[in-house]
């Protein structure tokens, strides 16, 4: 009997260890930034300024801006539809390893959802839960959110076994054109044109939502906030509560808009009562000059909106918090576009000032640089006073052995070992007066080049404006590792 018990225990432990190991194969790598963030464990350990919350967090607070303005290593721990129960666990894990100097927690009505969660909302929680270490706390979180029957769902191997093929042979998102990330922040330039067209005349959120008297924070919601505050207090980490702006005019019903607004008011009241600052960016539209083109869709800011909010918040932090190492020598952030713009492209793969005045007049481009982003992807920055509608044409050759198992989006652009892509950079302006992104009084545009290779040859980047075409960059051989 003892022999059996001992052998069974060894067997069960081995099985669970193997399941825990195979979990990395079963995590949904297409879901987005979370998987990529997980590859940045080293970055996470160095975090000084940390953002927590839902997708509102990872679409709004751009670590690049904070790094550039505050000279602090910044990471955004936000996760899609993440509610505060999960946020609490994410914080617990983060403060274990990182020496956080300031924590910023984004809260709003949806992050206060209590179990039982809807199926859709429930499945979103795994995007964050899957990246938490397997601890007693994680199991207890599963029990709180999904009940006893779902505790084994803590293992993606068990939970998502039915889609084993898709998961095991899934290409990570990093190779997809659409998405790009920086320390947890989604930097992609995706814009929902339909949303813009629909709301373009609104320009500003002029809705006046009303307070719903019977909506109050429940005791468990208050307890959740208290728990989070306690976690930071124990570690003597200052915490700031914020709320990202949403495009309220696009809320489905007035009732929803009122509900949303009421929760914001209640949160502000409660946090103020506790002596904590709460910045609700829904109240700062005019100050930030926010408009519909700063939103990718009704609930999330885009690259442009994130830059506005992040810049404001960075200034706020700089004024209200005194970090001891503020005067130290600037850190190097070679993959941070804002840092590169500020330092006139230090340490880039290639940079140049445009000497052709006719070209600058036609396109607005004054200087350019080629650099690698956080995931080794090539990006082209173009800067000027006002960059016009242009076309970018990129060609390069890669060793054939590298051009295997590529995502379709890239493979279709490769013929006979040569990559060829042309894209118009004018989408942002359609039907609007929107004039692109401005940083330090200059406008800039970024063009991401699909390049999941370690080495490429004969790279040529052309800019085309009407009938005028200019080769901006030509490099015979480029080693990217």
């Amino acid at each position: 009997m003892i022999k059996f018990i001992l052998k069974s225990l060894v067997f069960i432990i081995v099985i669970f260890l193997l399941i825990n190991t195979s979990d990395s194969l079963f995590i949904n790598k297409q879901r987005g930034f979370e998987w990529l963030s997980a590859t940045e464990v080293k970055e996470r350990n160095k975090v000084e300024l940390a953002f927590f919350g839902s997708s509102h967090s990872y679409c709004t607070y751009d670590p690049r801006v904070f790094e550039d303005k505050l000279n602090l290593n910044t990471f955004n721990f936000g996760g899609a539809s993440q509610n505060l129960y999960v946020t609490e666990s994410v914080i617990k894990q983060a403060i274990k390893t990182a020496k956080i100097k300031l924590a910023v927690v984004d809260v709003f009505s949806v992050s206060l959802y209590e179990p039982p969660l809807t199926m859709d909302n429930a499945s979103h929680q795994f995007r964050s839960i899957d990246y938490l270490d397997l601890t007693k706390d994680k199991i207890s979180l599963m029990n709180t959110l999904f009940g006893r029957d779902s505790i084994l769902h803590v293992f993606p191997t068990i939970r998502d076994h039915a889609v084993w093929y898709d998961r095991v042979f899934q290409q990570p998102n990093v190779l997809k054109e659409k998405d790009s990330y920086y320390n947890g922040f989604i930097t992609n330039t995706y814009f929902d044109k339909n949303f813009w067209r629909k709301n373009v005349k609104v320009r500003k959120d002029k809705i006046s939502p009303k307070l719903v008297p019977n909506i109050q924070l429940s005791n468990s919601q208050k307890k959740l906030i208290d728990n989070i505050i306690k976690l930071f207090e124990e570690q003597k980490i200052p915490v700031l509560f914020v709320s990202a702006p949403v495009f309220n005019k696009a809320q489905i019903t007035e009732e929803n808009a009122n509900k949303y607004y009421t929760y914001q008011v209640r949160l502000a009241e409660y946090l103020k009562g506790k002596g904590y600052n709460f910045i609700d960016y829904n109240n700062l539209w005019d100050e930030l000059n926010l408009h519909v083109f700063d939103f990718r869709e009704k609930s999330h800011l885009n690259f442009s909106g994130a830059l506005k909010v992040s810049s404001h918040l960075a200034d706020y932090i700089s004024k209200h918090y005194n970090f001891k190492d503020g005067g130290q020598k600037l850190r190097e952030y070679p993959e941070n576009v804002y840092y590169l713009l500020k330092t006139n492209y230090s340490n880039t793969l290639f940079n140049a000032k445009i000497k052709d005045k006719k070209f600058t007049k036609l396109t607005g481009i004054e200087d350019i640089a080629l650099y690698k982003d956080k995931y080794g992807r090539l990006e082209l920055i173009m800067r000027g006073e006002e960059i016009k509608k242009i076309k970018i044409k990129v060609t390069y050759e890669m060793p054939t052995y590298q051009a295997r198992n590529l995502p379709t989006s890239i493979a279709k652009k490769i013929k006979n070992g040569k990559y060829n892509n042309q894209k118009e950079l004018s989408n942002l302006k359609e039907g609007s007066t929107f004039t692109g992104l401005r940083y330090n009084d200059k406008e800039f545009k970024i063009f991401t080049i699909d390049c999941p290779f370690s080495e490429i040859n004969d790279l040529r980047i052309n800019v085309v404006k009407n009938s005028y075409s200019k080769e901006l960059i030509s490099i015979d051989n480029l080693k990217l590792n």
Partner: protein, 489 residues
């Protein structure tokens, strides 16, 4: 409670540990098994526990009375009480609506519409199994082949023994009941082989049966939408679905029993490797076949009354067997097909051997074995069509549509639009091929014995592979655990 549910995954280890903690104390151990069995059954619907208790109660006392009574008339009367109570429950819960519908349909044939509504009855899970098990006890006592037990606790435990309560194997009192009179010592090898059998049963059920069911259900629930190879494929997959479903259950039941020291009878012996339908029934649902042989075929006269009576008895047994499986004409026809083929095989037995001799066919060489196995499998599949079809009309549609040549439909698009995508389809096909290979070699020498001959590390790796295969390829989780097909019988 389903064997393939999280509930059972929690229930069984608890019962297992408690069982071995009290294993030395016979009464306590039997009380534990009885309570566990009632919890196991009550998990599905506690209200029907009373049926098991009444059946157990009636047969315990009737058995005792029959044994004590000398007068044949009284003995018969007592036996009738047992038959009436047990078969009464069975007929009411399982066949009442079938008889009402058949009655109404037969009047309709003569142009008369009867306005009789059917009853709203829930079929208690496993009623056909435990009824037959408890009946065999009374009948054996009546035949003076068995002495009644004086131990009511053992008898109630025998009737309700949870591993085989709801889907067999249908045990005989002479085999299982004495096992409740003695205690067992923990036997490491026995427990290990029991656990392996459980794992193998779960593999059959969760990896093959439940996956095949997706395609089978899609096609059989819409028979008018499919033709040719699609229906043939669905029928072949159903053959493996029902085999893996039922034999998987039996494996788990036997395995669970074995981990507690109990020996339950073997229910399947690679039935699809049979070379005739007669052999098929020696390998398929053995506990039911032998039950029908002992309690229906022999009382009808068996093979004693000449050729014609033998054929009649054989045919009747299969007809009743069909009806036992389900209260519908499709099951009756399924039984009838097997009955007819068995009678034909019996009637032509001598002629067949003469023909083989004349054409110089060696019945034992590989190619003839393969040929006869294929023919048998074809007949079994044909009969399964009736078994699985939702109605008699559907069955005819499936057979007619199966004959439509649909070769051009066999392509990448068509094959994977039957409910299983390319990955799922080839997963089930691979698993079935592995199962057939396993069955083939298992027939020659037990795989468990072969495995035990291997080194520790090899065995450890095999066990881990088995668990991972079930975890990754099994159907469970978001998809609710599938019931076993034989629960409805």
């Amino acid at each position: 409670m389903l064997f393939n549910s999280i509930d059972f995954a929690i229930f069984f280890p608890i019962v297992f540990v408690l069982y071995w903690l009290v294993a030395k104390h016979l009464k306590l151990r039997n009380v534990l098994i009885l309570v566990a069995s009632y919890v196991f059954y009550g998990w599905w619907d506690w209200r029907f526990l009373f049926l098991i208790v009444i059946s157990s109660f009636v047969d315990y006392y009737v058995g005792k009375k029959i044994y004590k009574t000398e007068q044949e008339k009284k003995r018969k009367g007592l036996l009738m009480i047992s038959l009436l109570v047990n078969l009464g429950f069975l007929v009411y819960f399982k066949y009442a609506n079938f008889f009402i519908e058949t009655f109404v349909d037969s009047f309709r044939l003569f142009g008369k519409e009867l306005e009789v509504s059917t009853l709203n009855i829930i079929l208690p899970v496993g009623i056909s199994f435990y009824t037959f098990q408890t009946l065999s006890y009374t009948i054996d006592i009546y035949r003076k082949q068995l002495e009644p037990t004086k131990d009511a606790l053992s008898f109630f435990t025998f009737v309700a023994f949870f591993p085989q309560l709801v889907a067999g194997p249908i045990e005989r009192a002479s085999h299982l009941l004495p096992q409740f009179y003695k205690t067992y010592k923990f036997n490491y090898n026995l427990v290990k082989s029991g656990l392996l059998l459980i794992a193998f049963g779960l593999f059959k059920k969760m990896v093959i049966a439940d996956r095949a069911a997706v395609l089978v259900n899609q096609v059989y629930n819409n028979p008018n939408d499919y033709y040719g190879y699609e229906l043939v494929l669905a029928t072949i997959l159903f053959a493996f679905q029902i085999y893996c479903d039922f034999s998987g259950y039996s494996d788990i039941a036997i395995g669970v029993g074995r981990t507690m020291g109990f020996d339950l009878m073997k229910n399947f012996r690679s039935p699809y490797l049979s070379k005739s339908i007669t052999e098929f029934w020696r390998r398929w649902h053995i506990s039911l076949s032998t039950w029908f042989r002992d309690y229906v075929y022999i009382p009808l006269g068996g093979s004693k009354g000449g050729k014609f009576k033998t054929y009649r008895n054989l045919f009747l047994v299969f007809l009743i067997s069909g009806l036992w499986h389900g209260a519908a004409m499709t099951f009756v026809i399924w039984g009838a097909i097997h009955g007819v083929i068995i009678v034909l095989e019996k009637a032509l037995q001598n002629n067949r051997f003469n023909i083989y001799k004349k054409i110089g066919l060696d019945k034992n060489n590989f190619s003839s074995n393969l040929f006869f196995t294929a023919i048998t499998f074809f007949i079994v599949c044909f009969a399964w069509t009736f078994f699985r079809a939702n109605s008699l009309n559907d069955a005819w549609t499936i057979i007619a549509n199966s004959l439509v040549v649909n070769i051009e439909g066999i392509n990448y698009q068509g094959l994977y639009k039957l409910g299983l995508n390319i990955v799922e389809f080839w997963t089930v096909v691979t698993a079935i091929i592995l199962l057939v290979i396993f069955d083939y070699f298992h027939g020659k020498k037990s795989i468990l014995v072969r495995l035990n001959e291997q080194g520790l590390i090899f065995r450890f790796v095999v066990y881990i592979c088995i668990v991972f295969t079930i975890l990754i390829f099994g159907i469970y989780g978001n998809m609710a655990p599938q019931e076993f097909i034989y629960f409805q019988f």
